[in-house]
C-alpha cells in the first residue's frame, strides 16, 4: 500500500506535506489558544476573570471567536485599492507561517544528530536557516504597509508608515545581535546551532547575554507588541493599519502577529536557550524534547503578555532613537566582544564574552537610568502647601460670609428647629 514511500523523493514530499500541514494546524491552534491565554493572564493580572463562559475555563472561546469572525460581513471600503486590500492580510499570514519552516521543534527521532529521518520534527534543515527567518520576517512588513496604504484611510496610512519605519529600524539591531550567536555556532542552520550548544555544554545565553537582551528587545519591536505596539496604537490612530479591516481579514492580521510572536519566541529559545535540549534529559526520549521546547516558547510568550499588561507605550521618536542610537551600537559592541573571544580564545573561553556582555548590560541599565535623570526625568519632591504665586498676581483670601439679602415675603427661617434624625428635608 505504501510502496510509493520507497522512492526517497516521493517519500520526502509526502512526509513534508504531512508535517507542513500539521505544523500549520499547530501554529493556528497555538494562535487561537494564545489569544485565550493572553486574555486570561492579563485578566488575572488586572484582577478580573477574563473569558470563562464558553466551555470549561473558557476553552471554547477561540472557537466561538473564529466562528464569529468567519461569518462577519466582509466589505471593501470605497476608497480602498481592492486587490491589494484583499491580498495584504494574506501576505501577512503566509509570511508569518513561512518563517517557522526552519525552526527545529524537537530532537531527531533517533536522538542522534548523525541519523536523520524524513519525519524529524522540523520542516527543512536548510543551511541558511537563520538567514531565512530574517529575510522572511523582513517581508512581513509588506503585509502591514500594503494593508495600511490600500485602505484609503489616514489612520491606516499613518499606522502603516510607523510600522514600516519601526520594523525596519529594529531589523538591523536584530540581525547584528544574532551574529554573535553565529560566531559561536559557526553555522546558520538552526539544527546545527542547537547541536553546537550541546557540544559546548552551555546555552548561548551564558556566552551572549548582551546579544540576548538586544535580541529580545528588538524582537518585541519587530512583532509590534507592547510597549512597542505603535502601529496599532489605539489611542492615537484608532487601530492603525487595522482600522478598515474586519472579520476574517482582520483576524488574519492578528494571526500573523501572534504567529510572529511564536516564531521569535522559538528563535530565542533555539539560539539562546538550547532549543529542545535540557541538560541531556532528552537523550533517551525524543518526544520529551518537543515538550521542553514548547515550555521554553511558552515562557517567552508569557513574557510578551506580561509586558503588555505592565508597560505603557513608548513614544514614537524615542522608539526610533532607541533602535538606532542605543541598540545598534550595542549590537556592534557585542559583535566586537564576541569576535575577540571567539577568534583569540575559542570555545573554552565563552565566559569572557559572557561576563563582558553582562557588564555592558548592567552599565547600560545604569546609563539609561542616569541619562533619564539628566534629561529631567528626576522628580524632585516639592514642599507642598506653600503659596507660590507670581508677583503680578495677588489673590484675596477671605473668610466666606454669605451676605443675606432677605426679602420679607420669601425668606425662610434661618434658625434651625430641632429635627428628628433621618427626617426628610421637605415637610410632608
Amino acid at each position: 500500500m505504501f510502496d510509493f514511500m520507497n522512492n526517497p523523493t516521493v517519500a520526502l514530499i509526502v512526509a513534508t506535506v504531512v508535517k507542513g500541514a500539521l505544523l500549520i494546524v499547530i501554529l493556528l491552534t497555538a494562535f487561537a489558544y494564545m489569544t485565550l491565554i493572553e486574555r486570561r493572564v492579563v485578566a488575572k493580572i488586572q484582577g478580573r476573570l477574563g473569558p470563562n463562559r464558553a466551555g470549561p475555563m473558557g476553552l471554547f472561546q477561540p472557537v466561538a471567536d473564529a466562528l464569529k469572525m468567519m461569518f462577519k460581513e466582509q466589505m471593501i471600503p470605497s476608497q480602498a485599492r481592492a486587490g491589494i486590500y484583499v491580498l495584504a492580510p494574506v501576505i501577512s499570514v503566509v509570511v508569518a507561517l513561512c518563517a517557522f519552516a526552519v525552526v527545529p521543534i524537537g530532537n531527531n527521532w533517533s536522538a542522534n544528530s548523525g541519523v536523520h529521518s524524513i519525519w524529524d520534527p522540523f520542516i527543512g534543515d536548510i543551511n541558511v536557516g537563520l538567514l531565512w527567518i530574517l529575510s522572511i520576517s523582513s517581508l512581513s512588513v509588506y503585509g502591514i504597509v500594503l494593508g495600511g496604504w490600500s485602505s484609503g484611510n489616514r489612520y491606516s496610512l499613518l499606522g502603516a508608515l510607523r510600522s514600516a519605519a519601526q520594523m525596519v529600524s529594529y531589523e538591523t539591531s536584530l540581525g547584528l545581535a544574532l551574529s554573535g550567536v553565529l560566531m559561536w555556532a559557526g553555522s546558520l542552520s538552526m539544527v546545527t546551532i542547537v547541536h553546537r550548544q550541546l557540544d559546548m555544554g552551555i546555552w548561548y545565553i551564558c556566552a551572549q547575554p548582551l546579544g540576548f537582551v538586544i535580541y529580545i528587545i528588538a524582537a518585541v519591536a519587530e512583532v509590534n507588541r507592547a510597549p512597542f505596539d505603535l502601529p496599532e496604537a489605539e489611542q492615537e490612530l484608532t487601530a492603525g493599519y487595522l482600522t478598515e479591516y474586519a472579520g476574517l481579514r482582520w483576524s488574519l492580521f492578528q494571526m500573523a502577529e501572534y504567529i510572529n510572536m511564536i516564531t521569535v519566541s522559538a528563535v530565542a529559545s533555539t539560539l539562546f536557550f538550547g532549543g529542545w535540549s535540557l541538560f541531556g534529559l532528552t537523550d533517551g526520549i525524543p518526544i520529551l524534547s518537543i515538550v521542553i521546547f514548547m515550555i521554553k516558547v511558552a515562557f517567552f510568550l508569557f513574557l510578551f503578555i506580561w509586558l503588555r499588561a505592565t508597560l505603557p507605550r513608548i513614544r514614537y521618536d524615542r522608539l526610533m532613537r532607541f533602535g538606532w542610537q542605543v541598540l545598534l551600537p550595542l549590537a556592534a559592541l557585542n559583535i566586537v566582544i564576541t569576535a575577540c573571544t571567539v577568534a583569540l580564545g575559542g570555545d573554552r573561553f565563552w565566559w569572557i564574552s559572557g561576563v563582558a556582555g553582562l557588564l555592558v548590560v548592567v552599565v547600560m541599565l545604569f546609563a539609561i537610568r542616569r541619562q533619564g535623570i539628566l534629561e529631567g526625568t528626576h522628580f524632585s519632591e516639592v514642599e507642598t502647601g506653600k503659596p507660590v504665586l507670581p508677583h503680578s498676581v495677588r489673590l484675596v483670601t477671605y473668610e466666606q460670609e454669605p451676605e443675606l439679602e432677605q426679602d420679607e415675603d420669601s425668606a425662610p427661617s434661618v434658625s434651625q428647629p430641632p429635627l428628628a434624625r433621618n427626617s426628610n428635608t421637605v415637610q410632608v
Binding site: 484582577g47 505603557p312 507605550r313 513614544r315 489673590l395 426679602d407 434624625r421 426628610n424 421637605v426
Partner: protein, 383 residues
Amino acid sequence: MATNQDTEFQAEFSGTSEGIKTQEMLLNMGPQHPSTHGVLRLIITLEGETITSCTPVIGYLHRGIEKILENRTVMAGIRYMDNSDYLSPMLNETAYAGAVEQEMGIEIPRRAQYIRLITNELQRIASHLVGIGTYGMDLGTTTPIIWAFRDREGILSMFEALSGSRFNVNYMRVGGVLHDLPKGWLDECSTFLDKLEKNMVEMDGLLSGNEIFMSRTQGVGYIDPQQALAYGLTGPMLRASGINWDLRVNRPYMAYREVAVNPIVRQEGDCFARYYVRLQEITESIRLVREGIDKLPGGPISVRTPIALRPPRGETYFAIESSKGELGVYFISDGSEYPWRAKLRGPSFVNLQIVPELLRGHKMSDAIAILGSTDIVLGEVDR
C-alpha cells in the same frame, strides 16, 4: 448643524493642505475616538508626526442642562446636576445646593456639612481614579484603568448604600442631605479607605516609577504659571503649575472651614505633575475622609425648608473645589420656585481652552498624553 460646520472646515482646510506644504496631513480625532474622553472632536493638522494646529469642536454632548435647570424647581434641578460632570455627581450637587443655600442664607447643620465633606472627598477620589486610570489607558497600558475601576467600584457601592443609586446619586438637598448615613456605613468606609491606601501605593509603583511613563509625561505639555492663570485654569491643572490655589483652602466652604486641607502643589507644570497632583490628592482625600469621620458630629442632617422652595430675589455665585477645578454656580432667582438662571462654571470647559495652545508643536503621541492629562469630562464641557 454638524454638516454646516463640516463644510466650513472642509473649505478652510482644503485650502491650506493644497497650498505650500504638501506633506501636511489632516487628522480628525473624534467625536468617536478611543482617546478623546467622550465625544470631543479635535481637528489636527499634522506635518509628519508634528502637530501644526489643532481645533477642538465641542457640543456633541450638549443636553441643555442649564436650560433644564431653569425649568425645574430648585429641588428637582439637583438631580440634573448629576449629569453635568458625570464622574463627580456629588460635587455637582453640592455646588448647586450650596448656591441655593447661599442665596437663601441657610447655614446647614454641622452633621450635614461633614456628610457633604465625606461624600465630596470620596467622589473626588472616584473622579481622580478615573482620571488616572484613563490616563494610563491613553499612554497605552491597560492595567491601571482596571485597577482604578476596581477601587472606584467600592466608592460607588458606598454611594448606593447611601442614596440608593450608584451613579446619579441625587443625594444633596437644599439645607442638608437626603438621608443620614446608614448603620455600619462608616465602618465600611474606613475598611475601604485602608484597602484603597494600599492600592494607591501599588498604583504609584505601577505608573509613577515607570521609565516609559515618566519619559512620556515629564517635560511634556508644560504650562507656566502665568499662562495657567491667563487661561483661567483651576484645580489640579493649576496646582501642577505651581500655583497654590484651592478653594477648599482659599475660600473655605461648609466643613472645610473646620478641616484643614493641605493643597497639593507641584512646580513642574508638565503632564507628570498633573498626574501626580491627582494621585497625591487621592491620598489627601483619604486623610480628609478619615478626619471627617472622626469629627462627624451628631444632630440633624438637614434644616427644615418649605415644600415650595422660593429662593429670594437676587443673584449669587457659589463655587466649590471640584475634582477638576473650580465648579461654580451662578444662581439668579426672581423669587419664584424656578431659578431664573443657573449658570455653571464648569472647570473642564475652562481647562479645555488651553489644549490647542498646548498641542501645537508636539508629537501626535504627545497629543494624547496632553489631552489625557487635562482630565476633562465632556459632560461638563458641553453641559
